[in-house]
């Protein structure tokens, strides 16, 4: 009888130990799962925030191009007062100045790998490229040309612009086309 009682007690004790071990294991796994979940959530959120910031910087470049005509390098001015148009004589001068290595590096820091071209569309199209020699009768300005040798993708954006011809004191409508390259 005593032996049976002892055996029963031992069986209960072992059962109890097993249950405790089971509980410990379950809680341990639970903690590990929570830990992994929290770490994953933190990493995902951090990556999302970093991507938001990168997207903001990319969007900023796009917005800057819409306001390219407001830069003093291109904008019209009379008696020191700016007007909302692009001076075509400045375009000619700029497209030649940009060949200088110093200025090429200066603007590359701002614009990177891009092609910026302006075409007249109204009152008439003119396909002649503008240089100092053809400045009085032309309609295409290669403002900034910097295309890399290898391209992974490109984005093309265009926007209408108001053009001013100072020699004729006339205005026209043009399209500014920006091709942005990813390397």
């Amino acid at each position: 009888m005593g032996i049976l009682k002892t055996t029963g007690i031992i069986r209960h004790a072992r059962k109890g130990q097993l249950q405790i071990q089971e509980t410990i294991l379950v809680i341990f796994i639970f903690i590990v799962l929570i830990m992994f979940g929290l770490i994953f959530f933190y990493k995902a959120q951090s990556t999302s925030i970093a991507n938001d910031f990168k997207k903001f910087e990319l969007d900023r470049v796009s917005v800057d191009f819409i306001t390219l005509g407001d830069m003093p390098e291109f904008s019209c001015s009379k008696a020191g007062i700016r007007e909302s148009c692009i001076d075509t004589s400045k375009l000619v001068v700029f497209s030649e100045l940009i060949n200088n290595k110093l200025y090429k590096n200066y603007y590359f820091d701002r614009w990177g790998y891009k092609n910026i071209t302006i075409y007249t569309v109204y009152p008439g199209k003119n396909n002649i490229k503008c240089t100092t020699a053809s400045a009085d009768n032309c309609g295409v300005w290669d403002v900034y040309i910097n295309k890399p040798s290898k391209i992974t993708s490109k984005i093309i954006r265009d926007t209408p612009v108001s053009l001013y011809f100072p020699d004729k004191d006339q205005y026209a409508i043009g399209i500014m086309v920006v091709e942005a390259y990813n390397v």
């Binding site: 109890g16 405790i20 509980t23 410990i24 809680i27 903690i31 929570i34 830990m35 929290l38 933190y42 959120q45 951090s46 925030i49 970093a50 938001d52 910031f53 903001f56 969007d59 900023r60 917005v63 800057d64 306001t67 407001d70 830069m71 003093p72 390098e73 904008s75 001015s77 009379k78 008696a79 020191g80 700016r82 909302s84 001076d87 004589s89 400045k90 000619v92 001068v93 700029f94 030649e96 100045l97 200025y103 200066y106 701002r110 100092t132 400045a135 009085d136 100072p166 020699d167």
Partner: protein, 331 residues
């Protein structure tokens, strides 16, 4: 019976330890989550402040008097939360830092911003002023903590100049004599005197104030000095013309000699680049419009010298840009 009691005790110990570990994880997660939200807020701040305010301000067409945004007005610049704004300018690069730039920053291109190197604000007073030197170069952006009180200290020789110095009404400015100067927390004292004030005078005036900045401007030499780390900095040269004192105002809104010097140089580098364009434009106009009375060659030569660093030609060039008899304005 004792063993049953011991078993229960062990159970409780186990529950406390396991509960403590789980609680610890959740507390750690809470702090990490707060950190994440702060990072997100930094990105939102740079998107709003850098992308919309600074970028737009630099391109706005404003009159010669500029445009100001007072934080107290309905359309004022208010963040809704406190943010640590920093400004760093070195070499030819300048950056606006949000909370020390840990997550987000705004790299300035052609924008020139004059502000203290570090401020903790939930609102800002903003003033945009076009800088024509003598042609339009860029908009200068002046930023200040709305709590800052400006004190312009004058003497007999500078009284007239200081009294006529125009500052936007968005800022709190008092123009005082040196002997009646008394400052409080969040003060910016700008001395327009013949001699730089003694270091001991500034230390005594500052007392225990933690937020008080001091600037000395020598109008004869056109130099500015900033009181940093208990002493006056080296003098920084600036340039003003008859009708444009953008740099002088920049010295008033800055508190750091390096940043101010860097901003002056960035503005001048930009000026020289644009002067080069105008010089070549004048040459081109001379080819398109051959009338001798238009003097395009003359202004082209002056602009070319100006672009190579002869900045004192600013008034000469301004006078040469007079389109007469139907000539084309060079700028």
């Amino acid at each position: 019976m004792n063993k049953k009691g011991e078993g229960e005790q062990f159970n409780w110990i186990f529950v406390i330890i396991a509960g403590g570990i789980i609680l610890g994880f959740f507390i750690m997660f809470t702090f990490k989550y707060i950190e994440l939200q702060e990072k997100r807020q930094d990105v939102d701040t740079v998107r709003f402040f850098g992308g919309k305010v600074i970028s737009a301000s630099s391109k706005l067409q404003v009159g010669s008097g500029g445009a100001a945004v007072d934080s107290n007005e309905q359309e004022g610049l208010r963040f809704g939360y406190f943010v640590d704004l920093g400004y760093k300018c070195a070499g030819n690069e300048s950056t606006l830092l949000i909370n020390k730039g840990r997550t987000a920053w705004y790299k300035l291109d052609d924008e020139v911003v004059f502000m203290d190197d570090e401020i903790r604000v939930n609102a800002l007073d903003l003033w945009i002023l076009p800088w024509n030197f003598p042609f339009y170069v860029t908009n200068f952006i002046y930023l200040s903590d709305p709590r800052t009180n400006f004190y312009f200290v004058k003497d007999q020789s500078t009284k007239e100049f200081v009294d006529n110095l125009d500052i936007s009404s968005a800022f709190k400015v008092e123009k005082v004599d040196q002997n009646i100067l008394s400052i409080k927390q969040n003060s910016k004292v700008v001395y327009f005197l013949n001699k730089v004030p003694l270091r001991e005078t500034i230390i005594k005036l500052k007392g225990n104030l933690t937020s008080a900045n001091f600037v000395y401007i020598n109008m004869q030499k056109k130099e500015a000095q900033f009181f940093e780390d208990g002493k006056w900095s080296e003098a920084v040269k600036f340039y003003i013309s008859d009708d444009n004192n953008g740099h002088l105002l920049g010295a008033i809104f800055s508190n750091n000699a390096d940043n101010f010097n860097c901003n002056v140089n960035r503005a001048l580098d930009r000026t020289k680049t644009i002067a080069n364009i105008y010089s070549r434009r004048a040459d081109l106009l001379g080819q398109l419009d051959r009338r001798s009375e238009c003097h395009y060659n003359e202004i082209s030569r002056s602009l070319s010298k100006y672009a190579s660093g002869e900045l004192l030609l600013v008034d000469v060039i301004k006078n040469q840009n007079l389109a007469g008899a139907g000539c084309i304005w060079v700028f």
